[in-house]
Amino acid sequence: MTLDFSPVWAGWETLATGAATTIEVTACSLVLGCVLGLLVGIGRLAPQRRVIYGLCTAYLTFIRGTPLLVQLFILFFGLPQFGIMLPAFACGVLGLGVYSGAYVSEIVRGSIQSVDRGQMEAARSLGMPYRMAMRKVILPQAFVRMIPPLGNEFIALIKNSALVSLLTINDLMHEGEKIISVSYRSLEVYIAIAFIYLILTSATSLVLRRTEKSLRADGRV
């Protein structure tokens, strides 16, 4: 048995375009996931605000408790039944972003709650309203602590994005399968794809580690 990578080399341009689409889908859903996660995470800080807390908890429970693939299929194949036809790319971003947001929200909530409560007391005792104290004192500290778990989440998001190939989006996975369908070199192409995903995830983790290091410099916590 011999490995023949020539279809990979011949199709590098296709793979590069696919990787670009993967990056695009991931980046868009990452932004959506972070915004949703921040809002939901803060919403779940105050159980006494029952409606907001209830909505946020319902979102978290449903999204975290069901498979991403099922959620994507509901968006792409299910919604058209009601006449809602979203473009594949939008379905992919929406599905991944909403899914990731659930996990990000728990990261946000945990990081905020890990900031010593004396910080909020000090800010409030100076006369700062709750939101201002949250924005200027708590979140900047919580943010640094979010980076390692967010790194895990971003990496998971990049890998999960392979599922959007099933929504006809021409991402890395999808482009790879196109090459396989004409060359029948599954192993070589899948190895190549895995390697490209590895580069993407490693780069992400490197950037985050650098960011965290620079934020923690000079004795800052």
Partner: protein, 259 residues
């Protein structure tokens, strides 16, 4: 105590609070005149810190009335609304046992954050005021470092400067030296003594009996959520009336001598 010339800057009437079934404050009455230094002492769990925290709304009083600088923080057990609370807090500086400096900001930014965000002071004014305050607490040279690099005594002095930056009418100190190594206590007390001599109105919860003796205008002894005795330091330390005051002082002072 009711025959006062000035309007008291802090006036507390029948202040009470419970944590669940545990009644931690049991009808406190205190008047603080401008420029007065009140030191609150008492055994741990006597409600001293909770009392202090009720004076800037970090704890919610359940009964009684608290008036600060003419505003009712608590009116017959009813807390003022959020906006009013934020306004009163600008007049009441607080220094915590655990400093609570903002670790993500430099020393200078710690001091300028609230004035810049709240008092609509320009960046230049806030900074020159902050530098003056830092110089005053002896830390002018530390303006640009992060709090993580400071000693406990330095942190607490920055915390005092940060509270002063809002130009408060009253300063609350909640065991300001309890988290410090013994050799660092003096530098913090020194700053507080200077403040007192400049006429700052201060309420201080502390176990530093010598400081209370030297600096306080009135010493308040609390036990089980009540004020059991209050008076000038000479009276409290020299001729305490209450048996509980005597046994508390005996325990504290003998420990100090042993140390």
């Amino acid at each position: 105590m009711s025959t006062t010339v000035n309007e008291p800057i802090v006036s507390v009437r029948q202040l009470a609070k419970s944590f669940g079934a545990n009644r931690v404050l049991n009808g406190i009455d205190i008047d603080v005149q401008p420029s007065q230094v009140i030191v609150v002492i008492g055994p741990s769990g006597s409600g001293k810190s909770t009392f202090l925290r009720c004076l800037n709304g970090l704890e919610t009083a359940e009964e009684g009335t608290v008036r600060i600088c003419g505003h009712a923080l608590v009116d017959n057990g009813r807390m003022i609304d959020e906006n009013g609370l934020n306004r009163i807090r600008r007049d009441v500086g607080m220094v915590f046992q655990s400093f609570n400096l903002f670790p993500h900001l430099t020393v200078l930014q710690n001091v300028t954050l609230a004035p810049r965000s709240l008092a609509r002071v320009s960046a230049v004014d806030a900074e020159s005021q902050a530098r003056a305050l830092l110089a005053k607490v002896g830390l002018g040279h530390k303006a640009d470092v992060y709090p993580g690099t400071l000693s406990g005594g330095q942190k607490q002095r920055v915390a005092i400067a940060r509270a002063l930056a809002m130009r408060p009418q009253v300063m609350l100190f909640d065991e300001p030296t309890s988290a410090l190594d013994p050799e660092l206590v003096g530098e913090v007390l020194q700053v507080m003594q200077t403040l007192a001599s400049e006429g700052m109105t201060m309420l201080i919860v502390t176990h530093e009996m010598n400081f209370a003796r030297d600096v306080a205008d009135m010493v308040v002894v609390m036990d089980h959520g009540s004020v059991i005795e209050a008076g000038p330091p000479a009276q409290i330390f020299g001729a305490p009336r209450e048996a509980r005051t005597r046994s508390f002082l005996q325990a504290v002072l003998s420990r100090e001598q042993a140390a």
